[in-house]
Subunit: 208 residues, 2 copies
């Protein structure tokens, strides 16, 4: 008699993602995943083959559709600056909606090991960077932007957002931000968006 038809496979994925985010890949045991998900340990290998299989599946799920949002922006018939502002907004929204996951992504990316995932994340990021590069480069070519180091500007945009979610709330001593608190998250999101939009506007369009 099956009282609840909750998908064990999905339960494992969700539990694993939660634990990987909290304690890292190496720091999470298959037994923890099984316990957290309510599934038997053998189900992990039954569905995903191995612990790494779970990790890969999680990453694939997240990376899927990673670029679709940006694609739409780029096809808009708006100015380069407006496009860039939309990109910043989109990026901040996406990353701040899943801070734990992005922290994990960065963490595992910074390891030399697991080349398969490394390449996957690399490709996903690379595509997005090319897109932003195109937007800024277009702006420079048509004269609406100053000549700048495009790749460094991108590093600044991405780096700032990443820094906000990785550097702990306590590193922001001016206020006790808690990214797990929806209210605080909203505030900090709007603040980082406003900052980056303002920064890029001034830097890219200021008269010499």
């Amino acid at each position: 008699m099956k009282t609840e038809k909750i998908d064990k496979k999905q339960a494992i994925l969700e539990a694993a993602e939660k634990l990987f985010c909290e304690t890292g890949y190496e720091g999470t045991s298959t037994r923890q995943i099984a316990k957290e998900s309510g599934a038997n340990m053998a189900m992990i290998n039954y569905y995903f083959g191995s612990k790494e299989g779970v990790f890969v599946e999680i990453m694939n799920g997240r990376i899927a559709g990673f670029a679709s949002q940006l694609k739409i922006i780029n096809e808009d018939k708006i100015s380069s600056l407006e496009k860039l502002h939309k990109v910043i907004e989109g990026y901040a929204n996406r990353i701040l909606a899943n801070t734990a996951f992005h922290k994990m992504m960065h963490r595992e990316l910074s390891l030399t090991q697991r080349p398969e995932m490394y390449d996957k994340i690399k490709d996903a990021m690379s595509f997005n960077m090319q897109l932003i590069d195109r937007i800024i480069s277009d702006g420079i070519e048509d004269g609406s932007f100053n000549k700048v180091d495009v790749r460094m500007v991108i590093a600044t945009i991405m780096g700032t957002i990443t820094n906000i979610i990785i550097a702990p709330n306590k590193v922001m001593p001016c206020s006790n931000f808690d990214l797990n608190n929806p209210k605080d998250k909203k505030i900090i999101k709007e603040r980082v968006i406003a900052h980056l939009q303002n920064l890029t506007t001034v830097y890219l369009t200021a008269k010499k």
Copy 2:
């Protein structure tokens, strides 16, 4: 007759740091550390009490003197902008001189566990941020800087540099940067310094 009196304690520290940087804390075994350092496994606990003890010792060693460099800058009798530029230069130099270590620091910092180290890193960063905050805030107060979101500007400076070292060379498709190649490292260091100095100059002093 002792032919070589290489300090085993130091050898363990160096081997452990190298391995922690490469494969992370959890991913590194005490047996690996022993093998790499040429010391017996028991020496790890003999000198440092535990694996975590080794980690703490490494962090302490690095964090020591972390702020002395910035302290000197702040006491200089130069303009706020010049101070900020010196900070950027100092930061880029420091971090790019030890990219692997800073990657590890960020990685372990993004984990919820190991609260002792978490607090230690937090404090070290917090101190540096306060210092930069003071420099920018002074500039705003004396009217030489525009009114900006100071904490976000700091996040931008730190985030950009961190992004450069964490985002893999392949994410920079425009060129095959290799941070392990001294020549490439020099180029990218000067580039990020120039970018951030230029960015802050324009953003903080541009006329509205």
